[in-house]
Amino acid sequence: MTTMTYLEAGKAALAEEMRGNPRVWALGEDLGRGGVFGQYRGLAEEFGAERIVDAPISEAAIMGCAVGAALAGTRPVVEMRFSDFALCAVDELVNQAAKARYMFGGQSKVPLVAREPVGMWRSSAAQHSQSLESWYTHIPGLVVVMPSTPADNKGLLKSAIRCDDPVVYMEHKDLWGLEGEVPGGDEHLVPLGAARVALEGSDVTIVTWSKTVHAALDAARSLAQSGIAAEVIDLRTLWPWDTETVYASVWKTGRLVVAHEAVTVSGFGAEIAASVGEECFGGLRAPIRRLGSPRAQIAYAPPLEDVLRVDAAAIADAAAALIR
């Protein structure tokens, strides 16, 4: 175990995978100087400009090149800088990366990782703050991953790089500095598709991911003070999501709150709520609650931004209301 930040954990994951496999390389804007958040700092020095590639501001070409490079036998890691800018590369991700294997009848896979930092990051406003994970869960062919801790950012990124599917890998910008214990060694792999029970409890299940996991844990601590034992599930991978762990928890607690930073309407919480409604109806003792951002653009002024964020108090209130 070593203590490191979420940012350092991601960097360590990429560096280890690049050391282990010469076909792994990274491309994105400003990577030669460490990337916009510093999550690539030092990698160009170790691996050279051929494998830590400084791209022009051409998001479509970055993603499209990665598709071609994957088809031609390498394993590119794409940096999109902000998930908002990845919208300039949606054709390349959705029509090309996600489809090539299927429409060519399995003649090739497309092993690429698209790193797309998401989320509100103080006063970044409407075009630098979005959480669009649910869009990608809708696309057959894609895997969608959202780590919440340093340990998972290392283990999941390593697994994503080894995965033969195109993976949309969404780190949360507000978590870069979060410190935590990270298992050392090359083989710390967190399996894709497996949730983590972040806290066990028997009264209510809170399913969440990315930065909202931390708000949910805070909420669980305050619920505990009023004698309510919340179980917090960090989904970690949104597609494929760990239905087994979620259903088992709901059968145990009979209550479900899904909380995420993205807009509630058509958010991935809707998929979870619907699935639990179909599969665990007999075990539910209360209606399912979804918490997300209102369907509004994300504002600049700190107090305006804050009213849009799902916080611990909102999660605790929603959970407590199911029990009363």
Binding site: N21, R23, E50, R51, V53, A55, P56, S58, A60, A61, M63, G64, C65, A66, V67, G68, A69, A70, L71, A72, G73, T74, R75, P76, D91, E92, N95, Q96, R101, Y102, M103, F104, G105, G106, Q107, S108, K109, P111, P140, G141, L142, V143, S159, I161, R162, C163, D164, D165, E187, L189, P191, L192, G193, A194, A195, W239, P240, D242, T243, E244
Partner: protein
């Protein structure tokens, strides 16, 4: 037209390759007329010299990216016409398992990494394939054929810029058939055109009469040589004309029959045949080549017609490794559920 010292063997090979492309598409159109092709067809009749002239200069393991109008490129790269015809008819044994059809025709076994249903998208993919090839240092080169309509999409700028700044081994071929769907491309393209745009990005363009297969062949030969020598990207503007409608069902009322008739007089296959005859190849020899091509493609069509539909389970294969749909219940269509938590963790190492 008579050129001194032509290589009749090579020109005969072009004649045969172009006849095969023409015969393949004529057979496909026949099948379409019979209601056997469920999706759209974009014929390349009149443009065969580009396919033949380009691919004659590529090795089997060189990579090729093509467009929705890609039958000719795919055949010329060496794909099996029967597997292609099965694909067009959506039958078992199609080169893409019946999951792609004409617009996504591909044969990775001969380096043909796919036609593409999104205009211009192949330009960036080709640049990326070239980036990989350079990284791997394995000596392959990449060729990307796209239409004149693609130069008005962003990927043209982004992809050519990328290839230039990273000095990638890629040949860009703009197969300019005068039209983008039902629009004359010149009417919607600012400035002097595709070649000037390439030049502005530091890729010096070469232009060629796209109905003269030898001219295409020679131009590509030189460009490919330069690329193999490490010269970075090259650009070829192939000027030609689409003799059919945009799709097989487009009657093309936006142009006159006089215009089209005048273009038929420049048919690259007829021109190639005339040049071969002038060089002493007999009309019988050329006829035999034409007949052999027609027979080959008719046989491919008959085999495709006789083939069954793909197994229904194929609708659910090749989706993705993890989180793919798994048929639940008795039949493949009884109900679909996604893979649950039993999804196996990713085995360390990946596949490549």
């Amino acid at each position: 037209m008579r050129r001194p010292n032509i290589d009749t063997e090579r020109l005969t090979r072009h004649f045969r390759d172009m006849c095969r492309v023409r015969a393949f598409e004529e057979a496909a159109l026949k099948a379409l007329a019979e209601g056997l092709v469920p999706g759209p067809l974009h014929p390349s009749i009149g443009q065969e010299a580009c396919a033949s002239g380009v691919c004659a200069n590529l090795e089997c393991d060189d990579l090729l990216l093509s467009t929705h109008r890609g039958h000719g490129h795919t055949l010329a790269k060496g794909a099996d016409p029967e597997a292609m015809m099965r694909e067009l008819l959506g039958r078992a044994g199609g080169c893409c398992g019946g999951k792609g059809g004409s617009m996504h025709i591909a044969d990775f076994g001969v380096g043909m990494l796919g036609a593409n249903g999104v205009v211009g998208a192949n330009i960036e993919i080709a640049a990326g394939a070239a980036h990989a090839v350079k990284l791997l240092g394995d000596g392959r080169i990449v060729t990307c054929i796209f239409g004149d309509g693609a130069v008005n999409r962003g990927p043209f700028l982004e992809g050519l810029n990328w290839a230039r700044i990273f000095d990638l081994p890629v040949l860009f071929v703009c197969e300019d058939n005068t039209f983008a769907a039902t629009t004359r491309t010149a009417a919607v393209t600012a400035g002097p055109g595709p070649a000037a745009r390439a030049e502005s990005l530091g890729i010096s363009p070469v232009g060629v009469d796209g109905n003269d297969v030898l001219a295409v062949d020679e131009a590509v030969r030189d460009l490919v040589q330069a690329i193999r020598a490490g010269g970075g990207p090259r650009f070829l503007h192939v000027k030609t004309y689409r003799l059919t409608g945009h799709t097989a069902t487009d009657a093309a009322p936006y142009r006159t029959t006089e215009e089209v008739d005048a273009q038929w007089a420049l048919d690259p296959i007829a021109r190639c045949g005339a040049e071969l005859e002038a060089a002493g190849i007999t009309a019988e020899t050329l006829d035999a080549i034409r007949t052999a091509a027609a027979n080959e493609m008719d046989a491919a069509l008959e085999a495709a017609k006789a083939a069954p539909w793909p197994d229904l389970s194929l609708a659910f294969t090749d989706v993705q490794d993890i989180g793919a749909p798994v048929p639940a219940g008795p039949g493949p269509l009884a109900g679909i559920e996604h893979v649950r938590a039993s999804t196996p963790p990713i085995a360390p190492g990946g596949t490549a």
